[in-house]
Symmetry: C2
Subunit: 364 residues, 2 copies
Amino acid sequence: MPKSYNEICQSAKYKLTGHGDRRIDALMECFEHMDPSMEADIYGTGGIINDFEKDIACFLGKENAVFFPSGTMAQQIALRIWCDAKGLKNVAYHPLCHLEIHEKDGMKILHHLEPTLLGTKDRLFNMEDLKSVNKPIACLLVELPQREIGGQLPPWEELISISEFCKNGGIKLHLDGARLFEILPYYNKSAADICSLFDSVYISFYKGLGGIAGAMLAGRTEFIESAKVWKRRHGGDLISLYPYIVSAKHSMNKRIGNMGKYWQHALTAAERLNKIEGVSTVPEVPVCNMFHAYFDTTKENLESIFADIIEKYNLAIVRNIREIDNSICKSELSFGDSFELIPQEILDKAFEQLESEFIKLVEK
Amino acid sequence: MPKSYNEICQSAKYKLTGHGDRRIDALMECFEHMDPSMEADIYGTGGIINDFEKDIACFLGKENAVFFPSGTMAQQIALRIWCDAKGLKNVAYHPLCHLEIHEKDGMKILHHLEPTLLGTKDRLFNMEDLKSVNKPIACLLVELPQREIGGQLPPWEELISISEFCKNGGIKLHLDGARLFEILPYYNKSAADICSLFDSVYISFYKGLGGIAGAMLAGRTEFIESAKVWKRRHGGDLISLYPYIVSAKHSMNKRIGNMGKYWQHALTAAERLNKIEGVSTVPEVPVCNMFHAYFDTTKENLESIFADIIEKYNLAIVRNIREIDNSICKSELSFGDSFELIPQEILDKAFEQLESEFIKLVEK
């Protein structure tokens, strides 16, 4: 059987994006410097989980935090708690919110919450969109950065306005901070500064941080105590979560200081892509380590172009190419440890080849 | 601060029950012989998860299986699927079913299912109880062994009758097999023999098998495909579950052949306890590696007696003592690797001291 395009990418020595392959030695590495006699956590108790929860709560400037196996679970629960507190079913979020498109409607089917979609799919929502909501909502979810439109961010002042609007309107404000660490360099704020605008915050340990899995939900103690009850109801209160906790701590120590560098990689790559006719990025100038790239050609053409580059230079530029219509393709690029392993000459030549292939396409 | 009784137990060199302390090196051990370059699972796909699911499905004689982070999640989902298929809300189970007493009512609050409790809390339910249910039920959950009454089992013939009753009545039969491996020696049947009586089966990897966490749900392919959708809704479709999978495989290889031995330990310990006046076990003759022990004295007295034994012989006989009323205490004992590490002389002397302490209590 011939290799699929993603398998060809997988086999490339160099990758433009990511932290390298997801291999099981990632876990083994995390445990290398651990004390083997350390006691496992048991159903949410024990130093290994509770100390980490305290550390993260402190880092986010929140009273308390609880570790979750997944963000899907953490966020549904956060919204449910805020809705129950207000006696309402309505939450508001972006039309491409994770809960709306990636969770098989868990929020609706398990929790019977009803979303109000703010703005349109192709842009950030703004204060106008928020003000035009014509029914009472218990909670607003803001995702920073807005992943599905390339990782865009509102201006800091707009965030403050949103936060004040919610405070004045008795609306709880929840942060989908799956990529919170990744945006700190752009806002040039601490995590606690950003989180101070929100009533509850979810963060992930496996996006920019590159951990194995796991999430944290932070907020006031009363909120976190409720979240622990819901965590058990969801089946997330595992007897032991330490494999993910050890990995989360390790990955955070390893990569928390790299976010500015990853952003710089994204800026460099986006600039090179935007120079090519028939290629563009959203946003044009990335505000964190990610963006979406658009290519004016078919998936078949594009995969063939990138496969040739892999064959020649051993560099995979984009993976997971999605055809939007017959002549435009899209791919998400998130930058991490892999970028700086690419020799400059290979990077230059690969992009030169990409450019010359697109010149040929335009000429056709 | 003086040590709590459980901390004193923890510090004992020898333990009557369990597989030893839950320490993080349990995970490290599992990875020792793994190929470090093995690819991680990604959202339920990849050899590391899918091969294990296939192996377990085969072992249980089922068409398909899906790995879950927890049994709480797996079982709520199983019952939900069967209820949706029948268009009913009612499930039947034992009054001390895990879903009834340990899951903060997740099944009721997340899935709006309504339980019919069969029989009474102090015994197994039987065919009479089942026949007396006077409303339509979608699904019957049978827990083998029934943990909260000491791990009791119905006769094999009764299981067959229950299975036939359900088949004839269009009721789906689900097995809570959290301790399925532990009961194979008693029934002297294969896992597949037992599972053939059930439409769906949940098994756990951290009870008798001693893994870190994780569960498997098995059944027909259509059922498993639905379960995967619900797994995502619940937030259980983690990007990678391999830490638990590697541990589950390792623990299964290590302990699957030990269940007869663990049962024998339980038989030995129960026999010794039942010889003491004021001490009894339920069941009197264990049918697997577990039983409950009852002690006719206060918790304070009992902890003091066992703490003295630990001080003298370095052996913890029971942990987690629960006072039922002012003069009766209860503890659950589950046997594993620890039992055979106890030198015979220490075991004898510790039980002799326990007996002499109870003689003193009776004389008072």
